[in-house]
Each structure stands twice: as structure tokens, then as C-alpha cells.
Amino acid sequence: MTDLTGLTMAAALDGLAKKDFSSAELTAAYVTAMEKARPLNAYITETPDQALAMAKASDARRAKGESRAMDGLPLGIKDLYCTKGVQTTAGSHILGGFTPTYESTVTQKLWDAGAVMLGKLNLDEFAMGSANITSYYGTVESPWRKAGDNRPLVPGGSSGGSAAAVAAHAAIAATGTDTGGSIRQPASFTGIVGLKPTYGRCSRWGIVAFASSLDQAGPMTRSVTDAAIMMGVMAGYDAKDSTSVDIAVPDYRAALDGSVKGLRVGIPKEYRVDGMPAEIERQWQQGIAWLKEAGMEPVEVSLPHTKHALPTYYIIAPAEASSNLARYDGVRYGLRVEGDSLDKLYENTRAAGFGAEVKRRVLIGTYVLSAGYYDAYYLKAQKIRTLIADDFKKAYQQCDVILTPTSPSAAFALGEKMDDPVAMYMQDVFTVPANLAGIPGLSVPSGLSSDGLPLGLQVLGKAFDEETVLKVGRVIEKAAAFSTKPSFLAGE
């Protein structure tokens, strides 16, 4: 039999429909791959028994002619999504032993569509990070290596386990979450496709909160078509999330077939940042040329507040995080470190339970929200956020989508950029503005760096116009014909 783990979701659905193989066979191949991928540390929890049982149920549905949109496809789930009866850690010691008694809305939708759960994927602690080095459960290693250099590389973050597993064929696709780039940057680092939907497109209910006004769930896949299929299942209104928006979910896959001729692609001049490597600039120019060949018209647009996006984000996200993470108090769930008063119990529990990056951000958030500083920092940042969102609204009067690099660099080695928090935060310079403005963004692999590592291009769209974003992403995917695989593949 052919290597089942090499198939995209779309190809696997075809094979399942034609009875070339069963979900039980496909899932068994992925369970083996998941075990082989252990050196990457991509999974925190493996659920092979549950996977095989779900696969069997899927095969039974298919035999009765009742198969659903993602029936029988084995997924990895970022361990920020609560899964009923399966430990959920958020990559943090403070949630030690937490087993949800409920299921997140998005994962429930995936199971209702017939998908199979392989296990829970590693991530930066509470999704705070750009390299997947802050997890209590250890760093995740990328399956990629630089040409002629065997040092381990980071997979990006925070959805680093998701990216590593999908790239190494240890999951056919995975869920991610994106607060400042946590789907798109790791997708770019590992040569896969990652979509951050419009804020409000997917329910956040049952996903451990980091920064509630920025967090969005999204798919991480091996093709744009797969992203479209998975997006159609994940999206939709949920009465349990008051910020989810009640508008119909379009047929994203059907939208891929539409023409892009005559669409205008905005090129923001402010995204030419100092010190950006020449090869990133070349990828960007190549992307513009591809879209032009497909009949799209490039137009220069201006997003004048771009350079303020990152510091604005580092006020808003920590402020919301400090509030969201106040719930971890050693009383209701997770870790508890006793103290001789209630305050001491809180302080001891949070000292032992949070890692260094989480403490850093909770402290920043507490500071910017504290009396006397609120107006100077938080209120100011909220006003600049309005200006950043307005920049995009104005730009979209001149264009339909915007094209940028996803990340200012290819993947770096484990141990690099770790002494200076601000240098690490710069990883998100191109991705953060979309979160602040709430608009959708897609990262598509576009080529290789001089070191032989994947690079990605980012397509930004208008709010709730994932259809056009995916359609343009598909054009880049076809033109780039990116087919290089990482040096480590678990599935073969």
C-alpha cells in the first residue's frame, strides 16, 4: 500500500470514499507515525485507543453511506482546546492534572464532522511564545534541518507541536490558535499552510484563554484545499461565545475554484522593515509576480501605523492575559501549593505553576492596568489599535487582499534569540497587525531559504472574506509548487 500518511486531507477523503483504505487503516498508520515522532516532542498526550475507536465508528458510518465532511481523518489538537475526559494542559504546570468535563465547541464540531483525535499537541505555555520553548512539557523540535547542519531548529510558536506534527506527517492536520501569529509563523517555519480566521468566525468557547480580544482558532494543514475543508467545519456561530458572529459559513472549498483575475493585491510599503533578509524580500517580490501572472493587479498601499503594532500588542495581550490568568489560584483546578493563608496559597501556587515567560507577561499586564498607569498604557494602546484597524479599512478601499512575508526570518536554532525578550517578540512583526484589526490571514509555503528552510507568504483579507484569502492562497500554492519535505518524516 502507498504511504497513507503522505496524503493530504482531500486525497485521503477520496481514498476513503473509493474504499481504497479504511479510516482504521489510515488511523493505525498515524498512530505508528505519532509514536515514531516522539523525538520531536510534538504531542503532550497521545490517545491511540480513542483514535482507533473513533476510526472504527467512522468506517461504520461510511459503510452505511452516512459519511460526513471530515469523516475518518486523524487530527492532532493543540493542547489549549478542552477535550472531555482527556487531560488539557495549555503547556503549563499550573493546569497539572486538569481533565475537562466538557468539550470545546470547535473540537466538538470536528468530531461531529467525523474527524478522529490522535492526541493533544504541545505549545508554548498558555500560547505565549514564538518558538515553542516555554512549554512545561519541554521544547518542540522542528522536523526540518538546515542544509549541512544537524542542529535542532525551533518549529515556531505558539502552535509548534501542531506545526511539527503536520509537517512530519504525524497528523494529517491540526488545530492551532493565533493571538499574534501563533498559527501563521509556525506554519511558515515548517512549510505548511496555516489560517487565522477573522475574529468571531470560530467559537472560542472551551479554548483556554490567553488574550480574549485577539485569540482565534484555525486550521493547520498541508494544503490550501485542506485548510478550506477544515475551516468549513471549524467556523460558525456559537451562542456560548458572545463574540462569535452569526453569519452563514460559506463553502470555502467551492470558493477555491473561482477566478482571481482583476483582483487587486495591496503591497504595504511599511512592511519593508530594517534588517529584513534579502531572501525574504525576494520571496515577497516572487509572490507579487505570481499573482500578477494570474491576472491580479498589484497596488501599493499604506498602513502607516504598522510600526506601532508590536508595542501596542505587548500592552493589550499581557493586560488581557493578566486578567484571564487570574483564575489559576490553586482552588478550583490544577496545581495547588499550600500556604498558611489564602493569599500565601495563591502566591505559592502561581509562583510554582507559571513559567518565566508567563510570569513576565502577567507582570507587564498587571503593571499597565494598575492605578496611575492605565491611561498612559492600556487606554493609549486601545486608541492606537483603532488607528491600526482604520489603516486596514482604508487600504481595503484600494485592494481586495494584502500580500506580505509571514515572518522576518526562516526558523532559527534552539537556543537562539532567547536572552532578549524583545528580539523574540520581533518574530510577530508581520502577523500581529491582523490580530489587532481582527482580519483573516493565511500563511502559504512559498519557497526555501538559502539554508534550505521553508519560507512563507501571508495573504491578509477583509473581515469575513476568508474565501478570497484562500482563493489567492491557492494561486500562490500552485505557482510555488512547494514540495520539499523535512529531513525527518514520521510516516515513512
Binding site: 480580544s213 505587548y314 489564602l342 486601545q382 486608541k383 488607528l387 524583545v422
Partner: protein, 95 residues
């Protein structure tokens, strides 16, 4: 800007995170760096821009004020480190 150890100790107290001397020293240095970098926003003219708390430009949905959930005490307590008689247990607060 620079943040001293006393300021860090104060915000750590507000955030209910116990920090030791070494951590106070480390975070004073790191937070000074991060807040110094953030200071650049002071130069931005925000004019009459409204502060944005949500990108969703619509009113929060309303629903009838009725009970839609409940009766799940066991579920709610299932993950608690310490419970007794259907309640969470904490150190004595009132003497």
C-alpha cells in the same frame, strides 16, 4: 524607563505571584527593557481615536433571562485539589 525592584515587588504582589530576590532582580531588568521599548508609543498622536475594546462591530447578543445550564456540581468540583461537602476548601479566611 527603568523599573526598580520595589515596583516589581508591588506588581508581583498585585498579581499574587511570589518572587524571590533573584527573580525581582531579573524581572526589574527585563521589564525595564520591555517597557522602555513600549515607551515609543508616547510619540503617537492618537487624535480623537476611540479606544477599541473589541473588533466585533456589533452589540453583544441578548437572550431571555432563563436558566440554561446547571445541576453539574460534580463536574464543577471534579478538578478541584481539595473539596468537602460539595464545596472548595481553602485556608481559613475569617478568624
Amino acid at each position: 524607563m527603568s523599573m526598580d525592584k520595589a515596583t516589581v515587588a508591588n506588581i508581583a504582589r498585585l498579581a499574587r505571584i511570589r518572587l524571590n530576590e533573584d527573580e525581582l532582580e531579573l524581572y526589574a531588568k527585563e521589564l525595564s527593557g520591555i517597557m522602555g521599548w513600549i515607551e515609543q508609543l508616547n510619540a503617537v498622536d492618537t487624535g480623537d481615536a476611540e479606544p477599541m475594546s473589541s473588533v466585533v462591530e456589533r452589540l453583544l447578543p441578548e437572550r431571555a433571562d432563563v436558566v440554561t445550564d446547571g445541576g453539574i456540581q460534580e463536574d464543577v468540583l471534579a478538578n478541584a485539589p481539595d473539596t468537602a461537602h460539595g464545596y472548595y476548601v481553602v485556608p481559613k479566611v475569617v478568624e
